[in-house]
Amino acid sequence: MELTPEEQEMAEGKYGKAAQKAMEILVTLGEIYGAKRLIDISSVQVAGVSYANLNEPGLEWLADMAKDGKVRVLTTLNPSGMDMEEWRKLAISEEFAKNQTRVVEAFGKMGIITTCSCTPYLYGNLPHYGQHIAWSESSAVCYANSVLGARTNREGGPSALGAALVGKTPEYGFHLDENRQPKVKVEVKTEVRGTFQFGALGKVLGDRLGKNISYITGIPEASVEELKSFCASYATYGGVALFHMEGITPDRVTTIPSETTEVSEDDLKGAINDLNEDTEIDFISLGCPHASLAELEYIAKKLENKKVNPNKEIWITTARPTKQIADRMGFTKMIEDTGAKVAADTCCVVAPIKGRFHGLASDSAKMCYYGSGRNKFSVKLMSVDECIEEALK
């Protein structure tokens, strides 16, 4: 790979140890994937924040990088393992809270905006069409490429951090036009409505097509909330970073693929059925990816003046800024007066809740996947309304 004089100096350690390690990561990845150079990026989203995943060695690595590392572009952060302010409400241990706080402080020391959210595009990290970015968090990567038309590979935590410290990323993969063209056409022959059905569609396509880039027709409209649910699910089940949805994805497609596959009502029902285990629900999770303001308002109005079954727990996970506005609007109080919990900064995928619950209901197909695999819960995918009914009964 050809490096500029400044990049060469960074690689030699003239800009400090963290920048040198960052260059080592970027250059190695560039060489593995055949990049010719590094390119400027406008923003970064860093994942790998929960202490439950990092453990003490991961935290030490970050603290080491924070000794002399400073980000050079706008950089935001993925959810942590707890609500950074009200962690006691979620029954997080003192020890975990102390360690999680050290992790977030290390990121903050490097100049990262500690948003602790998986939907950076809702909170001030919004790239426009064609911009090069280096994001981790698979749902946000998929959203950025496919809905916003920005350009990013699926970064991991350290490679995203490396890109932030250098302000650049190696030019390969989804940064290049030729790798962004669809390979298979999908005709959706059934109506898809609501976050849970869009999640189910993501599972159908992910399971069937894997990483093949799809060109999706038959979705006349989709809300931001439906699209973020779809992106999260498709990225989880298929490992995809990019799809084209007709009328939504801004990227130009040179040739619509001739290979075609159809999604029927039965396919969609099949996916929902796969995520419908016979179980007693004791935990309900909404807000994966993080609930938007519209979602919090909807849930607040649905729950208002009702009581959650005291044997069940319901978390609505969201980002701190959304919760602050929801506080002002009275939504948080409407929700929490029922016994439900609004949890900011965290999510049920990365919070240390293994063993605490048995049966999980969620409107998110991604949440069902990790609830089942990582936390060993039995899971049920259902609509937001059904999740709320389940919490109340």
Binding site: E24, A47, N55, S159
Partner: protein, 129 residues
């Protein structure tokens, strides 16, 4: 016999090969506290990777796997070098942050479990002793 591949991360070491034809997910697939492969149905399920030179086709799974490799390296568990057919980002980043010698583009079918290997991550050479 010598095999030559591509340097992913520098460093030299010698040790016993542990070979699998299955790709490896370090996050969820290997227990970082023990270094033992725990993925159900994996060819190496129940086998300890500690102090071995791990030889496998490629990495897979969550990018958190890079941190799992790091945790094992820092606590003295897990492999002391990695040899792959085709390295991808998770393993590459894991080796860079852990400073573990790593070489790819090696015909891993030439290596059998129990062989004594010398890995030269600087030149990309693997010597079967």
């Amino acid at each position: 016999m010598k095999l030559t591949g591509r340097r992913i991360y520098h460093g030299k070491t010698e040790g016993e090969a542990l070979v699998t034809k299955d790709s490896i997910s370090f996050y969820g697939g290997v227990d970082p506290e023990t270094g033992i492969v725990v993925e159900k149905g994996h060819e190496l399920e129940g086998v300890n990777t500690t102090d071995k030179i791990l030889v496998f086709p490629t990495g897979k799974g969550s990018t958190v796997g890079s941190y799992v490799l790091y945790q094992m390296a820092k606590t003295g568990k897990g492999p002391k070098a990695l040899i792959l057919q085709e390295c991808e980002a998770i393993v590459a980043v894991g080796c860079i942050i852990s400073e573990l010698p790593c070489v790819d583009q090696i015909d891993v079918s030439q290596i059998k479990t129990g062989m004594n290997l010398a890995v030269d991550g600087d030149s990309g050479e693997i010597e079967i002793k």
